[in-house]
């Protein structure tokens, strides 16, 4: 790579730095090439020994990143506190809400499971009556009506289950949005800081 190409590439990779800093770096590297050339070195050899412009730019850029993170002035500190508080607030109010709704949804699912189970038992009640007559008491109802009630229960619980699944998916999506809003707040303030 010739001096011109090397400097152009380095400049391109450093574009995000302050202009003064870019100028100074380019001057340094330019001087390095010039002295090398005056010592009868080939431009190709000099650029080879320097390593790629990308590498050098990466080295430089990483320094700037750590430096900006080190310095935190009053405004930035206040901003970071604001981010912390706003997330804390939403956790305080919204998180318990989500947890209780989720617990409610969970208990509904358990109820539906119980309905389903009792429906299945009812369907098989005539057989159970044969096996162990003492545990099945039909009351005033005729025995053949029990399986019918069982089938109705199963059908109802399947229907209910469908609604609950849809509902819990919605809840899940809201919970995701909620978490994303945290990330959004964090990212917003990170950019500022």
């Amino acid at each position: 790579m010739t001096k011109i190409v090397y400097l152009e590439r380095l400049k391109k990779y450093l574009a995000q730095l302050p202009t003064d800093d870019i100028e100074e770096i380019l001057e340094d590297v330019n001087e390095h090439f010039d002295i090398g050339i005056s010592n009868a070195r080939m431009e190709e050899d000099i650029s080879e020994a320097l390593g790629s412009p990308k590498e050098m730019a990466f080295n430089l850029l990483s320094q700037y990143k750590t430096r900006t993170r080190k310095g935190l002035n009053v405004v930035e500190a206040i901003k970071s506190w604001f981010a912390f508080i706003s997330i804390g607030f939403s956790n305080l109010i919204l998180l318990p809400l989500f947890v209780s709704i989720a617990a409610l949804v969970g208990s509904f699912f358990i109820c539906i499971g119980a309905f389903m189970l009792s429906g299945i038992l009812l369907v098989f009640s005539p057989i159970l009556k044969q096996v162990a007559p003492s545990i099945i008491s039909t009351g005033n109802l005729p025995l053949f009506s029990l399986p019918l009630i069982g089938i109705l229960l199963i059908a109802a619980s399947i229907k209910l289950n469908k609604y609950m699944v849809i509902g819990s998916q919605k809840l899940y999506r809201y919970a995701l949005k909620f978490s994303k809003s945290h990330l959004f707040v964090l990212n917003y303030f990170k950019k500022e800081i």
Binding site: I25, D28, H32, I35, S52
Partner: protein
């Protein structure tokens, strides 16, 4: 030599060379690469950082051949830092030797 070793130690080397004499970039690169296989491009970013942290300052000086050169010079902070590194390096070296070559006796 392990690249992570070099990165950490390079700053110490640069400060130590500059403690002896003011150098222009090319000279510094040459001095170091004479003893160590480094990617020469790592020196310039390092010098930039040292300058931003006020460990070194620069000045221009005429040269016999060609345009004036930018010389790097240690500031008082730089001198202090070099001395601190000196001590740290000694201690570190001793500890490493004790761990890695316990039988040789240091």
């Amino acid at each position: 030599m392990n690249i992570q070793f070099k990165k950490g130690i390079l700053e110490y080397c640069v400060l130590s060379i500059l403690k002896e004499k003011d150098c222009y970039g090319y000279e510094l690169v040459n001095d170091i690469s004479m003893h160590m296989a480094i990617s020469e491009g790592t020196i310039y970013p390092l010098l930039r950082r040292l300058k931003n942290d006020h460990l070194v300052s620069t000045y221009l000086q005429e040269s016999n051949d060609g345009p004036p050169r930018k010389y790097y010079q240690l500031t008082q902070v730089g001198i202090d830092t070099q001395e601190k590194y000196n001590q740290e390096w000694m201690d570190f070296q001793l500890s490493v030797n004790k761990i890695c070559n316990p039988n040789k006796g240091v």
